[in-house]
Symmetry: D2
Subunit: 306 residues, 4 copies
């Protein structure tokens, strides 16, 4: 039974992701993303589940930077978790009794419509996390009547759902990844994603265009590109890329090799099955068979057999 570190406390969205990705895993809640990843690096945990991006908020900076700068780890799976908020109360509390609500400010923002509509008289007080809000409300002596939190926090802290799925949008999604110590890359499935971090050799005009060309010329599509500062002053960036396909695919391998040659550093973050199971469309001339035939052809002509 693997032990998986995650962003705690219990009752967070991340815990929900851990349960979905690895129902049988032993769970190790950590104080922050860095601590969860360090637990893997130190061997305290076998893996970690951390948020990578959110469809409203964008990339999770701490994760992006930890994966880029910390001791290398390997992404081996991803999971897309719908972000659904519940209004959690102590058993017996009724909706009309709610006067004081606590939650994380981001959740407050995303549930503004519901609050105005259904809790118009209530005040909302910020908590450090949605799970902490639930934990607080679970205390019978809490000054708060309700927490806005993931449903899972209700299970964890013994609260009831006074209302569920109360977000203003119902299509918000957070993408989580499961990371492991370097070692085994998951087998290709035909519907894979490959993540990497690219540091420019020198930050010249056109460098990004060159990097994108390395993918384009091998028919590899990018699904995400995110710039991050290197810390060396305004104007100096490095890039996170997600590409369709698996590092074992010839076209992906050659694109990564090409990128490696023009980068000062290219960190491979992993190849893993896509959560959405979308099968990679392979452009004519870029299948493994096409690459292998081209390699044979090259061997032949290099020996003069034209």
């Amino acid at each position: 039974m693997p032990k998986l570190a995650y962003l705690g406390p219990e009752g967070t969205f991340t815990e929900a992701a851990v349960r979905a990705l690895a129902p049988d895993a032993e769970r190790l809640p950590c104080a922050n993303v860095g601590a969860a990843l360090d637990a893997v690096r130190s061997g305290q945990a076998d893996g970690a589940v951390v948020p990578l991006e959110n469809s409203l908020e964008g990339g999770i900076i701490q994760t992006l930077d930890e994966l880029a700068w910390g001791e290398p780890l390997l992404i081996i799976a991803e999971y897309l978790l719908p972000v659904e908020f519940s209004l959690l109360v102590r058993p017996g509390t009724e909706l009309r009794q709610i006067k004081r609500v606590t939650t994380h400010p981001a959740a407050h923002t995303q549930c503004r419509g519901f609050i105005e509509r259904e809790l118009s008289g209530a005040v909302v007080i910020p908590a450090s996390s949605t799970a902490a809000a639930a934990q607080e409300v679970a205390n019978p002596e809490s000054p708060y009547d309700a927490a806005i939190s993931p449903a899972i926090a209700g299970e964890v802290y013994g609260l009831e759902e006074a209302a569920s799925n109360i977000g203003d949008r119902n299509d918000t999604v957070t993408r989580f990844v499961r990371v492991a110590p370097p070692g085994h890359v998951p087998e290709p499935t035909g519907a894979d994603r490959t993540s990497m971090v690219a540091f420019l050799k020198e930050d010249h005009a056109g460098a990004l265009l060159e990097m994108l060309s390395e993918f384009a010329v091998r028919g590899v599509n990018l699904t995400r590109i995110e710039s991050r500062p290197t810390g060396q002053g305004i104007g100096s960036y490095f890039f996170h890329f997600d590409a369709e396909g698996h590092v074992a695919d010839a076209r992906v391998g050659e694109a990564l090799s090409g990128l490696h040659r023009i980068c000062s550093d290219l960190r491979f973050l992993g190849s893993y099955p896509r959560a959405d199971r979308v099968v990679t469309q392979i452009r004519p001339g870029t299948s493994d068979g096409d690459f292998s035939e081209a390699t044979d052809w090259l061997t032949r002509i290099r020996s003069g057999r034209v």
Copy 2:
């Protein structure tokens, strides 16, 4: 005397930026970036100063999204503020007396070395902002002995610098922009920057490469590119671009027009003098004179005068 809204309270880095950008302006502190920009939209303020990116933290999400989605505003100036932290105390407090420190977690992170070295026995308690920390410490009955804040907060709240420039790095910089209601674009200076937000017509593979090509083919260099989620689910992004040059420059104008044609929406955020005064290098064949000569030539050949 213009009135400028900014991210308050008094004593923040943003206030320091306001003072540098517009020493004589009346200052209107606001609760957050959105409120500062809304003050401009409503006419309550003549302009606003907001952080756009930080050399360690990256893009300031709230600013990026407000400029992209809110009622249009125009960036008319930028300022690069070195991020320097001071250890602020009530007059009379000595370094060795400091046991309890308060500051914003980001500042804590950036001053970790100093704290370990000089304040090894002290505990650090989080505050909601570095200015709020200073305000707290200014209270004679505060349980805290010191705040880690910008020096300006010391001036504002009557504290003394027990130590200055205590960050672990001394090259951290925040880039602020001054925004105004739509209207007058600042005159070109030869050392300008142009900011914009591009929404893809359809999110197809190669779309980013196409957008970059619109710049490259007219010899326009990008200095920043930042992807942001559209909110329409994982995998759907829009882009912030900063380009060298001014919208009045022929090459920039044509690049923006080209981008406009392939985007579902292209929002112009402004052209303004670069804070670093770096003069735009113009690639041969892309000066205004080159463009104007080419236009004359085209007019001529269209009438058959070859």
Copy 3:
């Protein structure tokens, strides 16, 4: 009634093209392509019809170089002439009597199958042109029994067709263009072609890729590209391009302007209806309406109305 110069003598494929392009024109046969074009330049003729390329032989060098280096002229029409050879004899000659055949070597090459099959005992003697061959055979005292020539040469010189369409391939085509003095460019029809000659500013690696990008980024497809030596030594070339569309089209105009800026010289050779009537497919975002909307948008944002 216009007077059109062409590559004579009477009875050539070029004459057939003149008849097709301008049935009512007065025809002025010339000794070579250069002479035909000079007749236009001097005002001796109103226009000229010259071959530009052949689907077997490729570009007609003399035409390409004359249009590139000589006094400028304008292509105003094109015509695709199927290359069909006839075996022409004096009236009364029968196939089995033919022992000595004369024709131009290129025609010989293209009719080799017929000759081996039907004229196996005959010898073939080279003539300076297929029309000259017919003229020669028309002489009752000619030592030759037959000429391989275009059918039109039979009409001109009073010969009979002993066999028609005797080429080994029946899909060979020559593309002719009608040129006029600089002046009026034909109106756009939606199915147009634009020809030009591009001289590199400096012959650097990647120059051709840059030129092609000027077209690609505006959605303009090329239908022909032909390199020619500049005369300045091996390795120095200039380029003939044919593009889809008309110089009056916004996307073509901007592409040509862009090319003009990066070339030491760009010579516009004309925009004219395609002989094959293939309507230009316009890529989304590159119609005249798209360009005009983008221009309006640019005007607007330049004045700060974002």
Copy 4:
């Protein structure tokens, strides 16, 4: 002693090239380029020397098409021969006595200035080749007084130079290649050239741009590109490319493999030392060492050792 076929008769520029490339070779003059190459294919000769391009006239069509369509052969060397014409006469003839000159029309064109200046009263009659002209004049009963031919033709046919280097330009050069049966590719020298012929998979817009990108992305410069009709009608072309570097170079090999994948056919014509000895400039990140390091890196990350 190798036997080399070449475009005869004796006394041509090609013979001069053969003598320069292989002074000790036995020479086998052939009627045309095709015959010379067929002599190699049949084993009658060990190799052939044929003209590939001329700095005034451009590509030699017969050679280009023979190398593209005929049984494969391998280019193993190249030679740049300055094209210098001499005025050849029978011993004793003086310049002022020359009334009738014979030469090939191309030579006539290139010596027009000299003829007008020094032979103003003379007529010029076309010959089938410059060597044939010299052979004709060598006949004491010839009606011609002089031939315009390469100096070598004077040696061969016993004529004297009445004037030398009489061309209007003194920088005209013809590039010859030595071809051999498929087998051994010459060793890389660091100053090599690689020739190939590329047939498009389907003749779509942008195909040429894609092909050029295969070279560009691996840092391989092209020194020549020549389009030729496929014979399948106007608008259908294939391409001859000359690239810097050797097929044994990693970057050239990968570019050729890439091209092979997107082409319906890619014919390798050979890698051989450049006649001009210009050493290939290697773009950072594209040396053999860079490629080999990238391959090692890829192997490592594919096994999860990040």
